[in-house]
Amino acid sequence: MLNTKDLLGIKELTPEEIYSILDTASGFKDVLQRDIKKVPPLRGKTVVNLFFEPSTRTRTSFELAAKRLSADVVNFSVATSSVTKGETLKDTALTIKALGADFVVIRHSSAGVPHFLSRLLDISIINAGDGANEHPTQALLDLFTVLSHKKKIKGLIIAIIGDIVHSRVARSCIYAFVKLGARVRVICPPTLTPPEITNLGIEVFHNMEKGLEDADVIMTLRLQLERQSKGFLPSLEEYFYLYGLTSERMRVAKGDAIVMHPGPMNRGVEIESEVADGRQSVILEQVTNGLAVRMAVLYLLAGVKK
């Protein structure tokens, strides 16, 4: 049961709303295993993917999720749109509304853009990543994946490794796992630690061996190579040497710990191939679950009274 017309972030959701999305997603996961993978609830609805940042997997996942629900999908990508001709965000949004869209899935490099659109338009806005703020569907699919392996969230030790300061995935995951009662740790270089982090109810480590001890879930983040020009790290080799996830380092975690990565992976930078392809890796499952979770979000938002 969702109570708002939009999905702006995990911060805005209650634990009950989160569980309602996850329960609905498990119904859709069953649908995705059938011969006919399409159901009719969003027939006649239009979903617009409005991506101001490059993305293949999230956009494709939303597109496929909408199509599996029988919605029509339009991809509005910035490189080919009027934005390059100087159109403002507001005018772009109003144009999309005027075309008759029911949902806008938005990704933007600035935090708060989905919130701005939410106030501007009375149709459903789904945040697919806004700056370094949130990426709620990624956190929901991570919760779903953890829940399917561990059968619970409460009390689990979740270790999130990497570039926390630039990561919206990290923020959404921290909110999500803390809300459902997990013990969240972040492991990151001091230069990539956001200052507000101590207020979030989590533990901060700068050492892999200490941070991974007894972990149930190990989540490595993509080192955002495009954001490392400001000298946060001496070199990628040093990053791998200190923070790369290797099978050697995994030994201090629980024996049945699962390894997750939101993709796309930089093999040999944040994660060793042996771990990425190893038996504890659930990275490809995350992709499949992402589809089910995004179907659940679209479906539940369609049922909210506007």
Binding site: L2, S20, R34, D35, V39, P40, Y299, A302, G303
Partner: protein, 177 residues
């Protein structure tokens, strides 16, 4: 005050009769499959199946079907539905599938159930078995096997409770006025 319509003995007799009707019409259990609609039809389908197995001494397949994603009232309902399990244990193509539900009312659930079922294959026949037919149809749908026909008012509610062992079965009418 709820009015008792059927007690557990009534329901036991009805299930026995319906089971006989189903095997009579189907001439046995060959190519027969029962599918209970979530969630009122699930236990009824299992009870009918075990009765049929007793009568015919042969096993028949029983499935469950969730129709949430096929409903036509996503935008008008006040509460969002909860998704339940769908399990179709056998191929349904060229079979006789008996859809089973507790109460037949507007017929909209049955419309959704037929759409959901057809996504799993092409049955030779789809039949409908319900414990109570309370009238007020909004679609051209009728039951092939009805336990009890019951005239009701539009404002009434009919609640059926079925248990696996049948001991606490009952159907009650909650009057709308």
């Amino acid at each position: 005050m709820p009015k008792q319509l059927l007690d557990h003995n009534d329901i036991k007799r009805i299930i026995r009769r319906m089971a006989h009707e189903i095997v009579e019409k189907n001439k046995g259990t060959e190519n027969l499959c029962l599918v209970g609609i979530q969630k009122g039809g699930v236990i009824l389908a299992r009870r009918l199946a075990s009765q049929i197995e007793t009568i015919e001494s042969s096993r028949i397949e029983v499935g469950t079907l969730d129709i949430t994603f096929y409903r036509d009232d996503l935008n008008t309902k006040t509460d969002q539905p909860v998704v339940k399990k769908t399990e179709i244990p056998c191929t349904i193509t060229n079979k006789t599938v008996v859809l089973v539900d507790d109460v037949l009312y507007t017929g909209r659930s049955i419309r959704a159930a037929m759409d959901a079922l057809i996504d799993f294959g092409r049955p030779a026949y789809i039949r409908l078995a319900v414990l109570i037919d309370r009238g007020h149809r909004e679609l051209p749908i009728r039951a092939d096997y009805a336990g009890k026909n019951l005239p009701t008012s539009f404002q009434d509610r009919v609640e059926v409770t079925l248990t696996e062992d049948g001991k606490k079965d009952k159907a009650v009418l909650i009057s709308g006025k």
